[in-house]
């Protein structure tokens, strides 16, 4: 397969509002094209970046709704009763780091995790918080920012025949999309949930009865039909559509790539170890895809918006999550992929310090917990300590921009680079964040 770069429609400077038609720019565009064409196909034009990347792939598990830090990775046994919540805290393998009692398996691999206990931002509405965690930017009324996965797709391109950015089972929110970049950099949605016993990625198999000779003839005929039209048109919309045909053919003609989606190839014992539920099977498929070369896999699990009765609503999901995540960490280690696979477990915000009138907790973005592991992240520790009632970080806080800059650093992307938004507006990949050395191995 040749990794032809996607035409960057929005990189063009337009003549209309915000446009410019200087030759210099047309030249710059063509140079960018040439540079990508000339780069080795597998590296996808990212040979330089890949050399410094610790994380070859990223598995991003997002927990929609806002998971309570108190009931998960930052319990406080000694907090006042109206703050403490319903669960006990347990020790983990890392001295001084405690989890809630429903994360027993993760506690056993805590020496592999980095727990950020002082993630902090100012957005207490779901969609705004979610945008923070998917894009590394605070929401703007004027601009939809691209997701991490789309930026990675834009900067590094596909590796081999697999799409660079995949969502399991499908794109969860608009913020997981391509934002101001062309939607060509958006995620590939499987269109089917791996927890489903009949799980099969949509349209990956040729129609029944189509032998290889006919598949080859169809491809030759398509070329015969397309050739003159493509040659006559320089429109980037058309080339972009064509690039996806090439990628589709590359995917279909690569048994290895197709096998990456075949969850049945995993031993039943391992499938059980992850858990036969949405958390387990989605994470297992994510691991398969990451291992096969997908650069960024996004998946979601559960609903964590526990305004009411958190004691009952939380526990079932927490246990499944605990089992699946711990299995993933062990599995990655066993396969020797832990250090090259970055695992991120995020949520849009945490929950209010005090238990509310309906025995739940409300939204709290000022101080909450996320997990990072593998892919160049420091093992067995925590970042930041929340104050006695989780209202604010006691010491250091991790900002959205710092989180984003650190993640991009790990995947080998310069977060200070500017991308072009519509209107020829240069926008930094991350605005002003620093890479946080304490998070790095």
């Amino acid at each position: 397969m040749t990794d032809r770069p996607l035409p960057r429609r929005r990189d063009f400077l337009r003549v209309g509002l915000g446009g410019a038609l200087g030759l210099a720019l047309a030249d710059r565009f063509r140079l960018a094209l040439l540079a990508q064409v000339a780069a080795p196909a597998v590296a996808g034009g990212a040979a330089v970046a890949a050399a410094v990347a610790k994380a070859q792939s990223v598995i991003h598990l997002f927990l929609p709704g806002g998971m309570a830090q108190q009931e998960s990775f930052d319990p406080k046994q000694n907090a006042p009763a109206e703050y403490r919540g319903p669960y006990r805290a347990i020790d983990t393998k890392v001295s001084g780091l405690r989890f809630s009692e429903h994360f027993r398996q993760l506690a056993q691999v805590a020496d592999r995790l980095m727990v950020v206990r002082t993630m902090s931002h100012g957005e207490a509405a779901h969609e705004r918080g979610t945008q923070n965690l998917f894009t590394g930017y605070r929401p703007s009324p004027a601009l939809q920012y691209p997701s991490f996965g789309s930026v990675v797709s834009h900067e590094l391109g596909p590796r081999g025949a697999l799409p660079p950015y995949v969502c399991i089972p499908s794109q969860p929110v608009i913020d997981a999309g391509s934002g101001y970049l062309s939607s060509a950099y958006g995620p590939f949605s499987l269109g089917s949930d791996p927890v489903n016993p009949n799980f099969e990625v949509q349209d990956l198999a040729p129609p029944a009865g189509l032998d290889e000779a006919r598949q080859a003839r169809r491809r030759a005929l398509l070329d015969a039909v397309d050739r003159d039209f493509k040659a006559a048109s320089r429109a980037d919309e058309i080339s972009a559509a064509d690039v996806f045909y090439q990628r589709a053919y590359a995917l279909l003609s690569s048994p290895e790539a197709k096998a990456a989606f075949d969850l049945k190839a995993e031993p039943e014992a391992l499938r059980n170890e992850y858990g036969h539920n949405a958390a387990g099977q989605r994470l297992l498929l994510a691991r398969r895809l990451a291992e096969a070369g997908v650069r960024w896999v996004t998946l979601t699990y559960g609903g964590w918006d526990h305004h009411d009765n958190i004691a009952q609503g939380f526990v079932g999901q927490a246990r499944e999550l605990d089992q699946a995540l711990a299995a993933l960490i062990r599995d990655l280690e066993a396969r020797g992929k832990f250090d090259s696979t970055l695992v991120l477990v995020t949520t849009e915000f945490g929950r209010t310090p005090k238990i509310n009138a309906t025995a739940g907790r409300d939204h709290w973005p000022r101080c909450f917990s996320i997990l990072m592991a593998g892919g160049g992240v420091k093992k067995g520790g925590w970042y930041g300590t929340s104050n006695a009632t989780w209202t604010e970080p006691e010491d250091v806080a991790l900002s959205i921009e710092e989180f984003a800059a650190t993640v991009y650093h790990l995947v080998g992307i310069d977060a200070g680079k500017e991308l072009l938004a519509p209107g020829n507006r240069p926008i930094e990949i991350v605005k002003g964040g620093r890479v946080v050395p304490e998070l790095l191995a």
Binding site: G19, A20, S183, R218, A220, D228, F244
Partner: protein, 833 residues
């Protein structure tokens, strides 16, 4: 007596060469040699000399104001010659000209005569109350300083939670609150009236003490002096009758700069509620839609960069105004040519292209036009027979005739029913109790309105003031689909006026004119919509409850209903929605008709005159305002006749251009200089596949063979429609319809049931072979079906060589079906080009 502008005085004996060096921005990239510039400038013939603003009224000792002089040459380019003109003052005792600033001295009226290159313009000046000084004011003087210095921007103290413990209202939407937070919070920590210069507010701003935001202005600067004067006056509260800004004007109205590095100073004048005006250029924040083309500095001087067009904006108080700046390279080889014009839109499009020095692409061929018109006007591919007939028709007027013929078909109105069903969010919704029956009745109501060509203003009036049961009076569903008062008012603004007022819910819109007062005043029209359950539990009755108010979140004032940018009408005893609907659909509403014609325009060109269509704002101006105005004017004059509008567009040369680029228009996507290939939208693509393969669609609730454009419920979808970006109708945003490609689309056409299964089910190839057609004839027939043209000799040969030589009928049929499959996968098929 002659006096000279002081900067110009230095140039008294300067040559033209020196003058040009002077107007170039210091430090700007010097793109051209000074001698070249001089030669170019000197060779230009002066067409017009204009002074801005048209008059000066100086009231009060501090009211110094500037003027600017702009030269327009016969080639359409402009130059800022303010510092080059000779200035003669009629009565020099009244005023002093210092630089470009006119300073009042004593009362009276006179004129300034401004001369350059043998031409002269006059600027009338009135001076009043020249000796009067006015006390320093928080709103008038200090708030602009805070905004100009960026203190209350979203990234600093204007953020919702402030910065480092100090919060101000974003861009100053709450001056009274800001006054309190500065003077009253933290027990006068922020100001020190005993030692005003040592106030923390000032020391932070001038960087005298550590400040996360750094130094915002220098000690002793004009901004600092204003702040200090107010502190020294004991930080007074303004009297309640303090004049408020009511309007803002920016000059010059347009600029065409030639060559990188050339500059144009902007001038911004605010008008106040007491009738006075004020030069606020130094107090504005300036920004550009494209810094690389035209970059303003903080003083409002624009420096030209790369070729293109930019819109440069100035913000002051709650107002944003803008002016277009075109930048052209030096020495462009351009000759305006006589272009055919077949509709009133053409001269307007061509005039803009001429200003940009762009030559449009030539007209497209008949086959391209045929397919384009069918897809756009009726959402179908032309049948093969129709394609044959049209292509063979020698008559000159056949394109116009085709447009008329298509406009008469029912599929024309069905397409627009679909588009408006999107805007009205027609979909079942369990949460809001919008049942399938109600959705269907609502959809049928819309169908009926559009099929009967009910004038659009009338239809929208009925919709927005609808009352009654959602079954008996289906238009009332408008208030059931969305039940939140604020959201309803946002949707009305976005759908019918094309503007997003959402920002102003929480703060004054930073890039537009809308304030929180405007937002909540408009929302008040929708605060008395009553809802109760009908006899049938699936039905809701919408009624005018005559009770319920909207309050302002800052201060809790009850907001009187107020038209956006307009009056506060008397709504006593009336249905507020009806009053609003009358205003909205009135012929003199500045947005309603423009928004509608733009919605139609974007359907035919893929890009709007305002783009995106639902984001009209000061900082997103139309690419061709004259065109938009004329389309709207004629639309209103025709009594909102959709068909007449589509005819004017469809018969224009602008619509009939080819996609072939030329060097002048290769990067133009906003001025209709060439056709832009557009992916066929999801519903139409599925319908076309269905018709060419002769396989009917089946959607839930619709008869077999219904087209996807006829689906009433946004929640009824299938994998094809979802993958190719059909709107879910969850929001009113035009961005819901996705036209960009992705991997899933390619996989679906390659492997999915939309192609192989439909080809097998429809048996089109078998039918054609049964008619006795040869392989080549079948190929030609398929080509006409899918692409509305015959294959070229080269294409036919390439295809035929892939076919088996054996004469086995089944083998041949399979091979020809593979040709059919290839055509359904062709880019030419998926795109309207």
């Amino acid at each position: 007596m002659t006096c000279k502008a002081s900067r110009a005085a230095r140039l008294v004996s300067a040559t033209l060469t020196l003058a040009l060096v002077f107007v170039r921005a210091p430090g700007a990239a010097v793109a051209i040699g000074a001698d070249d510039a001089a030669a170019r400038f000197a060779a230009k013939e002066l067409a017009e000399l204009a002074v801005h603003p048209p008059t000066l009224t100086l009231a009060g000792a501090e009211d110094a104001q500037r003027f600017l002089v702009q030269a327009t040459f016969t080639d359409g380019t402009t130059a800022d010659v303010t510092t080059l003109v000779d200035v003669r003052t009629g009565d020099p005792s009244l005023l002093v000209v210092e630089g470009t600033r006119v300073i009042p001295r004593s009362d009276g009226a006179t004129t300034l005569a401004l001369a350059w290159r043998g031409r002269s313009v006059e600027l009338p000046v009135t001076v009043a109350a020249a000796a009067a000084t006015r006390p320093v004011s928080f709103r008038r003087d200090v708030m602009p300083v805070i905004t100009k210095a960026g203190c209350n921007s979203g990234a600093c103290h204007g953020s919702a939670s402030g910065q480092d413990g100090f919060r101000m209202s974003l861009f100053g939407f709450d001056p009274d609150g800001d006054h309190f937070r500065i003077t009253g919070q933290l027990a006068s920590r922020r100001i020190n009236l005993a030692l005003p210069a040592e106030s923390l507010l000032r020391e932070k701003a001038i960087g005298a003490v550590p400040h996360t935001g750094g130094q915002r202005f220098a000690p002793g600067s004009a901004l600092d002096q204003t702040l200090l004067a107010w502190l020294e006056a004991t930080a007074p509260v303004d009297p309640p009758d303090i004049p408020r800004p009511v309007d803002l004007a920016i000059y010059p109205p347009r600029s065409v700069l030639e060559g990188a590095g050339s500059t144009q100073q902007l001038l911004v004048v605010a008008r106040y509620s007491d009738g006075s005006d004020r030069d606020v250029t130094d107090l504005c924040a300036f920004f550009s839609s494209a810094d690389s083309t035209a970059k303003p500095d903080s003083a409002g001087r624009v420096t030209a960069g790369q070729r293109g067009e930019a819109f440069v904006l100035a913000r002051f108080a709650t107002f944003t105004v803008g002016t277009p700046v075109i930048v052209l390279p030096v020495g462009l080889d351009y000759q305006r040519t006589a272009l055919p014009e077949t509709s009133f839109v053409d001269p307007l499009v061509h005039a803009k292209l001429d200003r940009l020095r762009i030559l449009p692409s030539p007209g497209c061929d008949d086959a391209t036009f045929l397919r384009r018109a069918w897809l756009d006007v009726v959402g179908l591919a032309p049948p093969a027979d129709e394609a044959r007939r049209f292509l063979a028709d020698p008559s000159a007027g056949k394109r116009d005739a085709l447009i008329d013929q298509l406009l008469a078909r029912k599929e024309f109105s069905e397409l627009w029913v679909m588009k408006f069903a999107e805007l009205l969010q027609m979909r079942t919704d369990d949460n809001n109790r919008v049942s399938y029956k109600a959705t269907l009745l609502y959809f049928h109501w819309l169908e009926d309105q559009i099929a009967r060509n009910v004038p659009f203003d009338q239809m929208v009036r009925e919709l927005l003031s609808a009352s009654g049961g959602t079954f008996k009076s289906p238009a009332a569903n408008y208030y059931q689909v969305e039940r939140d008062t604020l959201k309803v008012s946002e949707n009305v603004a976005q759908v019918f006026l094309g503007m997003r007022i959402q920002c102003a819910q929480c703060h004054n819109h930073p890039f537009d004119r809308w304030t929180m007062d405007d937002y909540y005043g408009f929302a008040a029209f929708f605060s008395q919509v009553g809802r109760k359950q009908g006899e049938d539990p699936r039905e809701t009755i919408i009624f005018d409850s005559r009770g319920g108010e909207v309050t302002h979140p800052v201060g809790g004032r009850v907001m009187a209903p107020k038209f956006l940018g307009g009056a506060t009408p008397d709504v006593a005893g009336k249905d507020r929605r009806r009053v609003m609907a009358e205003w909205l659909t009135a012929a003199d509403n500045p947005w309603f008709a423009r928004n509608l014609v733009n919605l139609v325009w974007v359907h035919f060109f893929g890009v709007g005159i305002v783009d995106p269509v639902d984001d009209v704002r000061v900082s997103n101006p139309p690419s061709n305002p004259d065109l938009l105005d004329e389309l709207a004017r004629r639309f209103i004059a025709s009594n909102y006749d959709f068909k007449a509008l589509v005819r004017a567009i469809g018969t224009s040369q602008a619509y009939q251009r080819s996609t072939t680029e030329n060097p002048t228009n290769a990067l133009d996507e906003r001025n209709f200089s060439r056709a832009l290939p557009r992916r066929v939208r999801a519903e139409v693509l599925l319908d076309v596949i269905s018709s060419v393969t002769e396989t009917p669609n089946k959607f839930p609730g619709l008869p077999l063979g219904a087209r996807a454009v006829q689906i009433a419920d946004g929640n009824v979808s299938n994998y094809f429609l979802a993958t190719f970006g059909r709107a879910s109708r969850a929001t009113v945003c035009s961005c819901e319809v996705k036209m960009e490609p992705n991997l899933s689309q390619a996989l679906h056409l390659l492997n999915g049931d939309a192609t192989s299964r439909r080809i097998a089910d429809g048996q089109v190839v078998a039918k054609l072979l049964a008619q006795g057609l040869s392989a080549a004839q079948v190929v030609e027939e398929l080509w006409l079906r899918c692409l509305a043209r015959a294959p070229t000799a080269a294409e036919l040969e390439r295809v035929l060589t892939q076919l088996p030589t054996a004469l086995d009928a089944a083998v041949l049929q399979t091979a020809l079906e593979d040709v059919f499959w290839a055509l359904l996968n062709a880019k030419e098929f998926a795109f309207n080009h």
